[in-house]
């Protein structure tokens, strides 16, 4: 049986931290996405109201969800990279 990773991976001492942070960010984004879906479902007329630059809530919320995903991804990567550098180099000297 042959399951392990195709590439040799070092010990990742930051794995637990990254997993916890990832879950938290996932729940934050999931809640905002759920709010978006619920407004669309329960009060679709509310999405027609102008909110920013002449754009309605539907467009601003939709674009916002896309941009938020990118921004949260960049923040997650920055925090994870810093933690990896801190834990993996100081404890084992292995870059993951």
């Amino acid at each position: 049986m042959d399951h392990g990773p195709a590439a040799q991976l070092g010990q990742d001492n930051a794995a637990a931290f990254k997993s916890k942070l990832g879950l938290r960010l996932f729940f934050v984004y999931g809640l905002i996405y759920a709010a978006f879906v619920l407004i669309n479902t329960a009060k679709p007329q509310m999405m027609a109201g102008d909110v920013f630059l002449g754009l309605n809530l539907a467009v601003v919320f939709g674009f916002g969800l896309i941009v938020l995903a990118i921004v949260m991804g960049l923040i997650y990567n920055a925090v994870c990279t810093r933690k990896e550098n801190e834990l993996n180099r100081t404890e084992s000297g292995v870059e993951v």
Partner: protein, 624 residues
Amino acid sequence: MIYEASWLAVGMFFTFVVFVLGLSFYFGKRTQSAKGYFAAGGNIHWGVNGIAFAGDYLSAASFLGICGMIATAGYDGFLYSIGYLAGWIVALFVVAEPLKRLGKYTFTDALDAKFNDKGIQLMAAISTLIVSMCYLIPQMVGAGALVQPLLGLPHWAGVLMVGGIVIFIVATAGMASTTYVQFLKGALLIVFSTVLTFNVVHKGISLNPSEDYHRFTELEATVQSGEVVAIADSTYQLKAQSNQYVLLEKGGIENWWKVSDGYVTETLSKVSTADGQTLYNGAPRADRRFYQVGHAVKIIKNGQEVSSTGPLSWNEYLSVIENSEVLLYKKAGFQHAGNQVTLWYGKTTAGERIMRPGLKFKLDEGSTFMQKLNFISLMLALFFGTASLPHVLIRYYTVPSQKDARKSTIVAIAAIGFFYILTLFMGLGAMVNGVIDVESSNMSAPLLAKYFGVGLFSIISAIAFATVLGTVSGLIVAASGAVAHDLMDNFFGFKMTDKGKVKAGKISAFVVGLIAIFLGMAFKGMNVSFLVGWAFAVAASANLPAILMLLFWKKTTARGIAASITVGMVAALGIILTSPTMFERYGMDAASAPHVLDNPGIISIPLAFMTLIVVSLLTQKKAA
């Protein structure tokens, strides 16, 4: 079909194909090991992998399907863009790094890493094959639909051509050639969609999209109790009436008109006669009387009514459409004198309705609880489906480290997110520039490109083909991995050398490719987005509960995972196959379907989670 093949488009397409085949041949010589074949050696740069993710993920359903849906249903089409993109959050925050850490070549590897269980190997491989097939069929159908108008070839030839090229790409170098085809396609798609969007916004919105745009005629009519008794213009002869549509004849050509209070309006009609003829607006297709449509009927810019806006900024473009009125086309159908009549009539629609949800999805006042539940179910499947698609997940094995897996996902989110924002502009651009082919809204983006010149049209058409090639290649790699690695190697335990595994992978790719060609021909005419929706729903139901619980619940057992995949897959497929939409496709009354759900996620995803929890709790001793 109301457009002709462009030789420049044909040239572009074949140039791309020759380049792709050359690339595959080059990588084929260097791909000798199973690691090279199934995971591109595991040393792809995260930036390249990120764009390849985009090339893999942005399928015909994204580029052609979403743009077409926005062109005909406004913001409701854009909801697909939002849902598809949001799904990447699950991939990034929850799945990417653990999957990279646990797996080798396939997503089954990751699920089975802890247990080494035959049940998981079998069920995860079957799930991979079913999801990949659900995804493959619409891509192949889309290939045939694209080849027909653009190269002038029949549907089967398009399917055969795309299938043959993809088999060559995958069977020569597997994931290595597939990665670079997807990278190339992803990059080209994003660059030229940006160019197209720039053209749309710079051109602005006009009441008259082009010099030769067909204006649909209105005739004064005497209407009594809904029945037309006379037409003011005596050159038209009243021939027949069917409900709110009336058949008029002029110069030997008959066409259907929509009856309103005091007048009748010309429609687009397609009549399939009992003797096998098809007439477009009363004449054969070659007479070109079937027009492209879609235009603004009232334009409001900065509170003033104007006939043309001139160049706009991106936010002005959306704002002007929201404040204006656009002619959208509705479809109707009925039998008349033994002929099947399908017609499309214009309906002036307020921009405010177009730019918010509710045109396609039944969400406004008067909608039922189940209609709203259907919408929630769809958005749930889109959110959870992405991180469960086997052809997306295997891309995590092509990079060297977990850090690279994470970074490549962020590149993918940025590239895919940017593209999805562009879909709103391309779709609305098609809506107001008179380019929509009501018979095939999927052609809206290429036809919008044609509006701006044959050069852009040729490039966009070639990219549309590339879109199919890139996604189908990824799907066939995933499916061949399920057969050669999960089933032959792991489940059945065939003793194979490394070279033998590569050979098995190539033979599997060839067989899966042949099956895809057959299915692409068999499912001709099936809606592209509809089948992709199946793939997302089945993937989210069968795979995601297993992945999440394996990662985050310590009591998860092998039997729990196998049972969860089985129940999720069967429940999702069962609900889809007994849905009202499928009953219509079977030729039965949709109302006779045993339930009203078209999107199964809201039932099948929780059911799979519950199954995993219950079975895992019941099999704790065996797990120990």
